[in-house]
Amino acid sequence: MAKQHISTTINGEPMEFLCEPHQSMLDVLRGPLGLTGSKEGCGSGDCGACSVTLDGRLVCACLMLAMEAEGASITTIEGMATGEALHPLQQKFLEMAALQCGICTPGVLMAARSLLERNPDPSETEVRFWLAGNLCRCTGYDKIVRAVLETAADMRENAA
């Protein structure tokens, strides 16, 4: 089958690409689009390292067909900071050492942001279950969970 032409929005910018019908969004992001911040840990939806948002919904890019991007809006880790200003979650992850090797970090950050957009005041249990799809082998999750809870508290304070 011939390559398909897709028009989409990625990190707020209009974008076009060609893809095979069977190609995953992750392959297209990491390949032709050069957005390698989304990582491939498994390719089967089990690790969350490829987490992106599709029209505001958190998805595994490895499980999404690239063709589903047509007309949609996708956000990746590359779209999280605004210019030089890191997102509060990114800043807090640095301050609290919530990453060791950092390979899970883009996915964890995307998932955490998506949680805080829905629930600005999550409990520890809610954070743990929301992030249950993001494997991290280095940290034991402790510093990740603490960083998400502290960011949520900071953001609530700043909004008040």
Binding site: T36, K39, G41, L99, Q100, C101, G140, V145
Partner: protein
């Protein structure tokens, strides 16, 4: 100790590589590309054990888009009768692990590789390769592999004069165990088993290699040592080390599993043959099937004590699965098992057993968790039999300065007792427990390691500092190195940048592993920085026309001292850098050392669990680790090591295992079925860092990365036993096994 002030050492600074890692910019091994790149794929054995009679690659080579095919014939052979060692790795096994030679030894063993213009064509070409196999009977489990009549993997391995799957033996003896047991009032002897578990790094193995027309190779890959990548690739391809440049990518976890390589030599040969850059990545399934987990084990431990709780004898026999080629970590199992204790009579034996599984690789304190699991569980039963508190029993017998360990050394100042005392005093140890809840404690030891490291410290022309070392940063070591450099120079942390050099730009540096990186790199960075400070004082002396001895370095500037004190205004790093050309040229220094004095690390963990008797699920409710960390240069990353190790240990104890089908094929080669702890499985993991500085290190550093994985297996097992009043002797204590055990109660 030459650090007096503490402006940066011990601070929770922001890691130099942090911003790139939270924005997705950091380049891990699969994240780069090159013009003209083609894709490599590996054809793997569908059999657990088979003789390779012939390989016909002609159809694959004829497929349009295929640019190169490689089989074992293209790799350098290391004949079986002569051992060639690279560190602890025997190249006879490495060459057969990278590509099957005489036989395919496990399901998933590479037999050939193809490079083509797309991944799809490469995969299609692999299907066109015809391998004529003579399928042989296989053996997976240790007990089966040691049975008389078991299929023998390697004819050249003999044990007690007969062909055998027992490939090696290691023995530690201290005193006279028989006499020791004769004097014991209570003796407990138990047998245990553990399953192989994978390191579980989230980044699969990957590499990008290009070989230029004159045969020079550039390898971009993530590993626990770019120099290891260079050396192994050189040995396996025949390309001299001077023609290989190994560039360390950011590494997405290793835990020991990336101390050896799988893809780089193959990609190098494919790139050389095709004249095109070759990229190879393993799928998660390939990582599970064909990269090394750590050993499964069978062990028996017997410990005897007098009525007052003094341990008089300890005996351990540890059988470890090596996988298809020799080399399981019996040294860690047999050597670390009894090391935390002052026991006059010890006999510890390790056996290396091959079977048709992927060859094991190092995993955090290799072997030690297996030894500690058995010993620490027996100690728990001993405490119960003697009616002594389990921490008290350990305290009574704890190794201290001057204790002779069975594996050889006499301990210098160590902090084991302090970990036990801190655990005993902690409120966790006294907190109430509910129904079906239990508490367990366990301790552990790891050797730690020194070895070769190199560093270069340069003053930039604008008076800042660029440090280069040779060790991949796997968990924040750049931040610790910047802390040390800023401290010694008396300048702001943000003025120090830290790079990991490739093999052409920094001197030889041994692996990131063994808990050695900060210990060794802090030494070379410290010595390099001290040399730089000497130069800076000399330059200031030259400007002032006084004796260098009359110049001190304080608070980031040169100051006249002694008779000249106060005579000249101080010269800052920026002042001296600006005048470097006129005072003698660029300012910088490098040091290369084979470091010694790493000294062992100890930890004690407390774990609370709750058992769901209906579902068989064991939940960890609370977990606290106490560890002698020497000196925490960057406390957050030390805590991170302690927390990560505890989490991995909880997974090993409760849920992780390889499941094989009847044909010797892994049945659960994915993250869904190979169950590592997820965020909702764990509680917060509390840490108590105890700082007993290592007297043999300028900053007092001890390795901290491996010990955290040593106690958890037994800490969890002891907690489960405490909750149920019934003990499991096999890991993992997964829901089906717990339910079966409860039914049998």
């Amino acid at each position: 100790m030459n650090v007096i002030s503490n402006k940066w050492i011990g601070q929770r600074t922001i890691r130099p590589d942090g911003a790139d890692k939270v924005t997705g910019r950091a380049a891990y091994s699969a994240d780069t590309t090159l013009p003209g790149l083609i894709w490599g794929k590996v054809l793997r054995s569908p059999h657990a054990h088979a003789r390779i009679k012939s390989i016909d690659t002609s159809k694959a080579e004829a497929l349009p888009g295929v640019k190169a095919v490689v089989t074992a014939k293209d790799l350098v052979d290391f004949p079986l009768d002569k051992s060639v060692m690279l560190g602890i790795q025997d190249m006879r096994w490495m060459c057969r692990n990278v590509m099957a030679r005489e036989k395919a030894l496990f399901h998933g063993h590479p037999v050939a590789a193809v490079a083509a213009t797309s991944e799809e064509i490469a995969a299609e070409a692999c299907r066109l390769i015809v391998v004529d196999y003579e399928v042989l009977p296989h053996v997976i489990d240790i007990d089966d592999a040691m049975q008389p009549g078991a299929p023998i993997l390697h004819d050249f391995i003999q044990f007690e004069g007969k062909p055998s799957n027992i490939a090696g033996k290691l023995e530690h003896k201290l005193g006279d165990v028989e006499a020791g047991f004769a004097g014991a009032d209570v003796i407990i002897e138990r047998s245990f088993s553990t399953e192989p578990v994978h390191q579980g790094y989230i980044e699969p193995h990957a590499c990008l290699v290009s070989v230029s027309g004159d045969g020079k190779a550039v390898i971009f890959s993530s590993s626990q040592g770019q120099f290891m990548v260079r050396a192994m690739t050189s040995l396996l391809t025949g390309i001299p080390q001077s023609d290989i440049r190994a560039i360390p990518a950011e590494i997405g976890g290793g835990f020991g599993g990336k101390t050896i390589i799988y893809l780089e030599p193959v990609a190098t040969l494919l790139a050389k043959k095709s004249g095109r850059p070759v990229k190879m990545t393993m799928s998660r399934e390939e990582v599970f099937r064909a990269s090394g987990p750590t050993s499964g084990s069978k062990s028996t431990v017997k410990i005897g004590a007098t009525r007052d709780g003094k341990i008089v004898a300890g005996q351990g026999t540890f059988y470890l699965q090596a996988g298809a080629l020799p080399g399981s970590p019996i040294r860690g199992a047999a050597g670390c098992a009894f090391a935390p204790y002052d026991i006059p009579n010890v006999h510890s034996l390790g056996f290396d057993v091959v079977s048709n599984r992927s060859k094991v690789a190092a995993y955090r304190a290799p072997g030690a968790p297996i030894g500690a699991y058995a010993v620490e569980c027996v100690l728990d039963e001993l405490a119960e039999a003697l009616k002594i508190d389990p921490l008290e029993l350990r305290l009574k017998n704890a190794a201290k300065q001057g204790t002779k360990a069975a594996h050889g050394p006499v301990f210098p100042r160590i902090g084991f007792v302090e970990t036990l005392e801190a655990a005993r005093a902690h409120d966790h140890y006294k907190a109430p427990l509910g129904k079906l809840q239990g508490r367990g404690v366990a301790s552990g030891f790891w050797f730690n390691a020194g070895g070769e490291s190199s560093a270069q410290v340069n003053i930039t022309e604008d008076g800042n500092v660029a440090v280069t070392t040779g060790h991949p940063d796997i968990g924040g070591s750049r931040a610790s190195i910047a802390n040390i450099t800023a401290e010694l120079l008396g300048i702001d942390y943000n003025r120090v940048s830290v790079q990991i050099g490739d093999t052409a730009s920094i001197g030889y540096s041994n692996l990131t592993g063994g808990s050695r990186v900060l210990f060794a790199s802090a030494m070379v960075v410290t010595q390099s920085t001290e040399k730089v400070i000497t130069t800076l004082r000399e330059r200031a002396a030259k400007i002032w026309k006084i004796d260098p001895e009359a110049v001190t370095w304080e608070d980031g500037e040169a100051r006249p001292a002694g008779d000249n004190a106060g005579k000249f205004p101080g010269l800052s790093l920026a002042d001296l850098a600006a005048r470097a050309s006129e005072t003698g040229g660029p300012i910088g220094a490098g040091v290369q050392l084979n470091t010694t004095g790493a000294e062992g690390g100890f930890a004690t963990h407390i774990c609370d669990v709750e058992v769901d008797a209906e579902l068989g699920i064991v939940r960890v409710l609370r977990y606290t680790s106490f560890q002698d960390v020497g000196r925490a240069i960057h406390p957050s990353y030390v805590e991170g090591q302690m927390q990560g190790g505890a989490a991995q240990g909880i997974g090993w104890a409760l849920s992780e295992e390889y499941i094989y089908d009847r044909n010797g094929k892994v049945d659960n080669a994915g993250f869904l079925d190979y169950r590592m702890p997820v965020c909702s499985d764990l509680p917060m993991l509390d840490t108590v860092m105890i700082e007993i500085p290592n007297p043999k290190h300028p900053q007092g550093v001890r390795g901290v990365g491996e010990v955290p994985l040593v106690p958890p297996l037994a800490a969890v097992a002891n907690a489960v036993a405490n909750a149920l009043g019934k003990r499991f002797y096999a890991l993992p204590m997964s829901p089906p096994r717990v339910l079966a055990g409860l039914d049998g109660a």
